[in-house]
């Protein structure tokens, strides 16, 4: 744990402008040449409650929120003044200060708004005593009055940023520029005044005894700060998607909103509909009629989509769904991440239903695999699902702008033109053999669209003959069923050949201890593996993105090369480890699990500790809220 990085936490109540302030500050840090990773923590409440955003900025690549943080800007919760005695949410003005202290590193800085947080409250939490113990540097500043003097109370965020810049010895240039971009003229001037006043006042009135300064970095290329939701939406746009239908549900709403806001300008269609069954059914209908379509939800809404999902599979209608996991079961914890829907997404829908499932672990992968999801869905006429979680959905990292500089792929895959339909097989009544026996390269028969000449057929969720008539003929059943299932083999072959990078390897290649993870836990695990190797251990890691079809060969090779492996995932029942054992049929005795399901994502230190507990000879439990599940037979 080094302090050559800044981890700045801004805390307040929901509705206090924490999110927008942090976005701007994160961008300012990025523009100064630093690598960025943001983490957002918020309650399922519109106003009030304790919320914070953490920005980790360093001169090297940052892949997770890090362990703890070193700068707290505590604004006080302006929505927390509850007039009712003993109200459930109580008086919470102190929360943005009191609830953040546990993770603040030694030697860290605290700036809090004296204007909102009263002296008695501060005394009650023994701040002075704790600060002394931890060598914290505390700056009580009346941000509220400062803001009021020059503008409005809400501008105390800006004052806080000004104080931060002064304490960290930062230039104001990038912050000023960003404010000019983001604010309208009538509030810009006041904000700039407040920024400068706070900056000057801090420099004049305080002695800085702390060592923490903003790190310096230089990017050689232009960067963009994006969330996983941005990346999925943009991957869809570049994958040719122009139809989205949905129903709001956290955290999926982000993707839905981004596409809804952009589609009108690019000739696309967005539909907010009555429920998630309709949402997915609309995507099926649009795709059937010839538009690349997508829908999605979070666990609870995705549950309703299992019907249309099966329909898409049986009718071989291409379709992309996204599933943004949050903690379950049922409504669970709406604003907290978990990786608990894996088995649900893999197996929902009746019969021997199959689909392709990708689990991106980074912003780049989210973009890449969404594009790939559209390619595969339209090439193989199969539903494809992107599974990710609230963490990846909301965290921002900087990505090289050039990464996105590539051509869109609007192709409809194995859809025929009318000229091609003339040559295709038809039955005696002139119906197109949409699900034909002969044309089955890669197990995919070509498709036509309603309105095309010579392409008439029936799409049905019942088992069907080559032209789509309902059929219970045993030979036909075996043929059609086998063809649909074996598509996954063809897809696996293509992925192995063209996209082996869906799985990410890191650490010491020769190590005989492996750490395995999937999805958004990637960053914390990758950093932990790096740290373990720096500390003299020999560990290698792999992050898997292909959930179905499973990368059997790659995983077998990885597991054969190690004596033991620890599977790290954010759920209580070791779902991914179960998948590995099911798909490979062995290695149960080699696999232990490190599980976390308290609503917060892994931090690298927890993974390091998990490793230590697992390989340490003495038996002990990890200190954090994680659980170790021993290997089969242990």
């Amino acid at each position: 744990m080094s302090d050559d990085e800044l981890i700045w936490r801004i805390a307040g109540g929901s509705g206090d402008g924490i999110d927008s302030t942090s976005q701007n500050f994160a961008k300012a840090l990025m523009r100064s040449g630093l690598d960025i990773f943001t983490h957002r923590h918020y309650p399922s409440r519109i106003r009030g409650g304790h919320t914070y955003v953490e920005i980790r900025a360093a001169d090297h690549e940052v892949q997770s929120r890090g362990d703890g943080y070193n700068f707290l800007l505590s604004l006080g919760d302006s929505f927390a003044r509850n007039p009712q005695e003993e109200a459930f949410y109580g008086n919470e003005e102190i929360k943005p200060l009191s609830e953040n202290l546990d993770e603040l590193r030694e030697g860290g800085i605290i700036v809090y708004d004296e204007g909102l947080i009263s002296e008695e409250d501060v005394e009650a939490i023994n701040l002075e005593e704790r600060a002394e113990e931890n060598n914290w540097h505390v700056f009580p500043i009346d941000l509220r009055s400062l803001a009021k003097e020059h503008g409005r109370e809400v501008m105390r965020n800006t004052a806080g940023v000004g104080v931060t810049a002064a304490l960290l010895d930062m230039e104001l240039e990038h912050i000023e520029n960003l404010m000019s971009d983001a604010m309208s003229d009538d509030i810009l001037e006041a904000n700039l005044e407040i920024l400068h006043e706070a900056y000057e006042m801090t420099i004049e009135e305080y002695d800085f005894e702390h060592d923490l300064r903003a790190p310096e970095g230089t990017h050689e290329t232009e960067q963009a700060l994006l969330s996983g939701s941005n990346a999925i939406a943009y991957g869809a746009i570049d994958g040719g998607c122009r139809f989205i239908s949905g129903y709001p549900m956290t955290p999926w709403t982000d993707v839905f909103t981004i596409l809804s806001q952009n589609f009108p300008d690019m000739g696309g269609i967005s539909e907010q509909v009555e429920d998630e069954i309709a949402a997915a059914a609309l995507a099926v209908g649009a795709s059937h009629a010839g538009v690349k379509a997508m829908s999605g939800s979070s666990g609870g809404g995705f549950a309703l989509m299992s019907e249309p999902l099966g329909l898409a599979e049986m009718t071989e209608t291409p379709l992309v769904l996204v599933e943004s996991m949050r903690a379950g079961p049922s409504t669970g914890m709406p604003t907290k991440p978990e990786q608990g829907d894996l088995e649900f997404v893999l197996y929902t829908s009746q019969g021997d239903s199959s689909r392709v499932v990708f689990a991106p672990g980074t912003i780049e992968e989210a973009y890449e695999q969404t594009r790939l999801a559209f390619d595969i869905a339209w090439e193989y006429q199969i539903p494809t699902i992107i599974i990710y979680d609230q963490k990846l959905s909301g965290e921002n990292t900087n990505v090289d702008v050039e990464f996105f500089d590539r051509e869109p792929e609007p192709g409809l895959g194995t859809t025929l033109t009318e000229e091609e339909l003339l040559e295709a097989a038809h039955d005696a009544s002139g119906k197109f053999e949409r699900f034909g026996y002969d044309d089955n390269e890669k197990n995919v028969s070509k498709r036509s669209l309603p309105g095309q000449k010579g392409g008439r057929y029936l799409a049905t969720g019942n088992e069907h003959s080559p032209v789509g008539h309902i059929s219970e003929d045993p030979d036909n059943r075996v043929y059609q069923m086998t063809r649909r299932i074996e598509k996954l083999d063809s897809i696996r072959e293509e992925l192995d050949e063209e996209h082996p990078s869906n799985q990410t390897y890191y650490g010491d290649e020769t190590a005989d201890y492996g750490i395995i993870t999937w999805g958004s836990s990637h960053g914390a695990v990758a950093e932990a593996v790096e740290r373990l190797n720096d500390d003299g251990h020999s560990v290698k890691g792999i992050t898997v993105s292909d959930m179905m079809p499973f990368p059997e060969k790659e995983m077998t090779e990885f597991l054969e090369s190690v004596d033991e492996a620890m599977v790290v995932e954010m759920n209580a029942t070791a779902q991914f480890r179960g998948l590995i054992q099911k798909e490979l049929g062995r290695f149960g005795e080699k696999l232990t699990s490190l599980l976390k399901y308290n609503g917060n994502p892994f931090e690298p230190a927890e993974v390091v500790e998990g490793y230590e507990v697992n390989v340490a000879e003495e038996e002990r439990e990890p200190t954090a809220q994680v659980r170790i599940e021993p290997a089969a037979g242990d």
Partner: protein, 311 residues
């Protein structure tokens, strides 16, 4: 060049084109009212100048769901209750398609009730034919949302305690711009109503009474019907919501008492369809979106152009 040449094709269309030349034969029971819907569609479609390939029929599950197995158009036989959302999206993706959705009373008024209300509310330009035989047929005779109160079935052996749903009034209140009822036993009227519904620009809901000779022998659809437009006893303005609502009430009150009234109940030619509304607010492209994928010259915007706000 269009990618969908079957759309708007102008030529003489033979009624037989809508009949599959080979298998399958309908699996409906002898005397089933569903034959009446099939027949009226086969007659209506050529008369309104539609070719089999520009028509997309979207059905749900049940005996009614098999309609497009026996009607030779582009067809999508979906799942129980979900025909409307699939049909809606197909129409948005390619507004030039003639989209006809069909289902039964259990399928459309029961499990698909939510979709029905919202499709009517949005006034999508599709024709929706509900085969209303007041019973679940394919699952062998259970009470449906339109079964009369007191109706005895295998699942309500003591007689249903529920009031039947009123499909015409529901549709009107939800916002459908064309609401009619016809019956399989009245083929001439049925054909005319189906034609009007197809030509209507908006959500056209046809409650189609279809007798079920196997599971619902008591249903009133067997008794003589009265065409409200042709009877002097029922004089009302079909373009007037209030008058239409009143007539629907009267019709639905007496349906299970031996009098069956059919005909047009409400026609609103002024309300724009959803396609038009969506175009008006700039949320639907002028040209069919589905066409764009076949246009080699189309300029596809890319996400790179959106990155400025993230820099």
């Amino acid at each position: 060049m269009s990618a969908f040449n079957a759309i708007g094709e102008e030529r003489e269309i033979d009624r037989d084109e809508f009949t599959p030349g080979v298998e399958p034969q309908p699996t409906w029971c002898p005397g089933c009212g569903d034959f009446g819907v099939l027949k009226s569609l086969k007659q209506a479609l050529p008369e309104v100048g539609k070719t089999p390939e520009e028509v997309l029929t979207v059905t749900g599950i049940g005996c009614s769901g098999k309609l497009n197995s026996y009607l030779d158009t582009y067809g999508f036989h979906t799942i129980h209750g979900r025909s409307l959302p699939v049909a809606r999206a197909a129409k948005l993706a390619n507004p030039e398609l003639e989209v006809i959705a069909a289902g039964g009373d259990g399928d459309g008024y029961g499990i698909g009730g939510n979709h029905w209300i919202h499709t009517a509310r949005e006034n999508h330009d599709i024709t929706y034919i509900v085969f209303n035989n007041e019973i679940f047929g394919l699952t062998k005779g259970q009470t449906s949302p339109t079964s009369p109160k007191g109706h005895k079935s295998k699942t309500q052996p003591s007689g249903s305690a529920k009031m039947p749903l009123r499909p015409l009034s529901m549709s009107l209140n939800a916002g459908a711009s064309y609401v009619a009822r016809t019956a399989a036993v009245n083929p001439n009227q049925a054909k005319e109503i189906i034609k009007e519904a197809i030509e209507h620009d908006g959500f056209a809901h046809v409650d189609f009474l279809t007798q079920c000779p196997t599971w619902n022998k008591d249903a009133r659809q067997y008794v003589p019907y009265i065409d409200v437009q042709e009877s002097d006893d029922y004089d009302f303005d079909v373009t007037d919501r209030r008058e239409a609502a009143e007539m629907m009430h009267e019709t639905e009150d007496v349906l299970n008492e031996g009098t069956v009234l059919t005909g047009r109940y409400y026609v609103d030619e002024d309300r724009p369809s959803y396609t038009e509304e969506k175009k008006a607010v700039g949320e639907l492209p002028d040209e069919p979106l589905a066409e764009r994928y076949f246009d080699d010259d189309a300029e596809w915007e890319r996400s790179y152009d959106l990155l400025d706000r993230h820099k």
